[in-house]
């Protein structure tokens, strides 16, 4: 059979079995293509890019430093802080919304289109498909925060004077050093979104209706936020998804406080492990009827 098989198809005979795995990355690239090849994704990124512009223009038009506290108050004096302020402002709502949409869509979208059965009979392998989906989600999280970083950088430099950066700890570092720290913040915030992305992936594995998956994921996010706002149950607060989300600011100290940052990363890693495992258990045992 193998000689015959080689003739047209190539790559489907037992003799090419050694080549297996060598092309295993194709699915991962294809997943990225699927996420970033859609207009919807670019609309979401576009909305995120608008955040720094709106914030910058508003501060510029008001023409004063106002009474704003924190990063926002420093934007007029140094455009650099528009990057940090925009990332901080996107974190509670815009970024989670974007992650919810993309992660809720991931498996439920394939199931509703019916393309899941084509992928599985290709065969993609259920575990491998799930891994490709999660990697694509992580890349999206990073793309989302880098979009805000870049838009903040451009808007900040265009609208305001820029210069050396005064850190939270009082010391001053060069603008270049500050930009690298802001980039680090973007990466940390992307990592903070991984837990939510994993929840979205899991919920998405439960249903064939992308909208339901998105709604459920967003509800989980809101519930987590509400629980975090109830002081009577503060024993569970350190274990909530968003507890360590603000730890990124510790990167703007000299030297940075790593404790909270590392704790947040471990927490996100734990959320990822639990919900990824749940998604795996679900997908590998699920009957694909759609």
């Amino acid at each position: 059979m193998s000689a015959e098989v080689m003739e047209v198809g190539g790559g489907s005979s037992p003799s090419t079995a050694v080549a297996r795995g060598r092309h295993g990355t194709a699915l991962f690239w294809s997943e990225l293509h699927l996420v970033f090849g859609r207009a919807r994704t670019w609309v979401l990124l576009g909305v995120l890019a608008v955040v720094p512009v709106i914030v910058g223009v508003a501060i510029r038009l008001s023409g004063s430093e106002g009474d704003a506290q924190g990063f926002l108050g420093q934007v007029a004096g140094n455009g650099f802080f528009l990057i940090v302020a925009s990332l901080a402002l996107s974190l509670p709502f815009f970024l989670p919304t974007a992650v919810t949409v993309i992660s809720g869509e991931s498996l439920a979208g394939e199931a509703s289109l019916g393309t899941l059965r084509n992928l599985l009979t290709a065969p993609a392998g259920r575990s491998r498909l799930l891994a490709a989906k999660m990697v694509a989600l992580a890349v999206f999280c990073l793309a989302a925060t880098l979009t805000v970083w870049l838009a903040g950088l451009i808007a900040g430099f265009v609208l305001f004077p820029v210069g050396d950066v005064v850190l939270l700890s009082g010391s001053t570092v060069s603008l270049a050093d500050g930009l690298v720290r802001a980039l680090g913040i973007a990466v940390l915030i992307a990592a903070s979104l991984i837990g939510l992305a994993a929840i979205g992936l899991f919920v998405s594995s439960l249903t064939s209706t992308p909208l339901a998956a998105m709604a459920a994921t967003f509800s989980a996010f809101i519930v987590s936020g509400i629980l975090g706002a109830i002081p009577q149950i503060d024993v569970i607060h350190p274990w909530l998804l968003m507890y360590g989300w603000t730890s990124f600011a510790d990167l703007l100290r000299d030297p940075p406080y790593w404790d909270e940052i590392v704790r947040n990363l471990l927490m996100q890693g734990a959320y990822l492990a639990v919900f990824y495992a749940a998604a795996w258990a679900r997908l590998t045992s699920r009957d694909i009827n759609g």
């Binding site: 790559g11 090419t16 699915l27 294809s30 019916g114 059965r117 009957d287």
Partner: protein, 306 residues
């Protein structure tokens, strides 16, 4: 491809597939028949590892499913329950994606193979169009193209001619013949009996989740007793003559007499009628269609069962 005692009971308790023992010989064109809802698609989903059987086993190309799916499925082209694509992508992009999902597919020849597959199903001109703009027939062709992206040892096609116009149906038939000629085993479900009669070497019939019949098409056909139909104005005389010669089960209609000639030589019957001065306007031996046989097997007309 072999199944043993394949059974699927859905959560509600409904048994969609009940103790099915299929045997699809290598190199055959196997027609998988049955009314809508008889369990064909559920069986196919189990064959391909999409759903887990409640009981029973599946062996695909000599290997157990779904255990060996990653090594077996690359050698199997599949079309399950109608075409499913990303509507916001072009036909070509869809093909590339499903091929990329197979780790054993060669990425260097991917575009080339996609082009060939599109040409084979007559979609070359629509390759750059978004699938959203495809007609159902075009989607069906694209789904067949997915199965043809690689040289396969087995093609599992669920209703491949659904939604196709007569010309498209013919093309698919020719394509199936051509592929089978190259040594590919083709397993195709259908509720169109004409398809089976025209291309299949083997057939199996499902009814209400059970496999009610499985054999070669030639055997099925051999069992169907031909009927002699005599068109004549001399109905009484013809019937009398035929009856005298041993033709049984005679029936008369407005201008024909028909009956079961059994093993009687047809030419002699014709000569006898002429000798008896029966004016012959027509004299034919007609085999009943497979459809009649299958209606008998499934106990209902096609396309009506739930």
């Amino acid at each position: 491809m072999v199944t043993r005692g394949l059974t699927k009971r859905f959560r509600g308790g409904q048994v969609a597939v009940n103790q099915v023992d299929l045997e699809v010989p290598a190199g055959s064109i196997f027609g998988f028949l049955g009314p809508n809802g008889s369990g064909k698609t559920t069986t196919i989903r189990m064959l391909l590892g999409l759903i887990a059987p409640t009981a029973g086993t599946v062996e695909l190309l000599g290997q157990p499913m779904p255990k060996a799916q990653l090594s077996v499925l690359p050698r199997v082209g599949a079309l399950v329950e109608g075409p499913a694509f990303y509507p916001f992508w072009t036909g070509l992009a869809n093909l590339l994606r499903f091929d990329a999902a197979d780790a054993m597919a060669d990425p260097w020849t991917r575009k080339l193979r996609a082009g060939e597959a599109l040409e084979r199903v007559g979609l070359s001109n629509a390759a750059g169009k978004k699938v959203r703009a495809y007609s159902l027939g075009m989607r069906q062709r694209l789904a067949i193209a997915v199965a043809l992206m690689q040289r396969r040892e087995l093609l599992v096609l669920d209703e491949p001619t659904n939604g196709l116009d007569p010309q498209g149906t013919r093309e698919v038939r020719l394509l199936i013949r051509e592929l089978a000629g190259d040594g590919t085993t083709v397993f195709t479900s259908t509720h169109l009996l004409a398809e089976v009669e025209q291309v299949c070497t083997h057939a199996a019939v499902m009814s209400q989740g059970r496999l009610v019949r499985q054999s070669t098409v030639a055997d099925l056909r051999a069992e169907l007793r031909p009927r002699l139909i005599v068109r004549t104005p001399d109905l009484g005389l013809a019937a009398q003559t035929l009856s005298g010669l041993g033709v049984t089960d005679l029936k008369q209609s407005a201008d024909t007499v028909d009956g079961d000639p059994g093993e009687l030589p047809i030419d002699k019957l014709a000569a006898a009628l002429v000798t008896a001065d029966v004016r012959l306007h027509g004299f034919t031996l007609e085999r009943p269609s497979l459809e009649e046989a299958f209606v008998a097997l499934t106990g209902e007309g096609f396309d009506v069962a739930e």
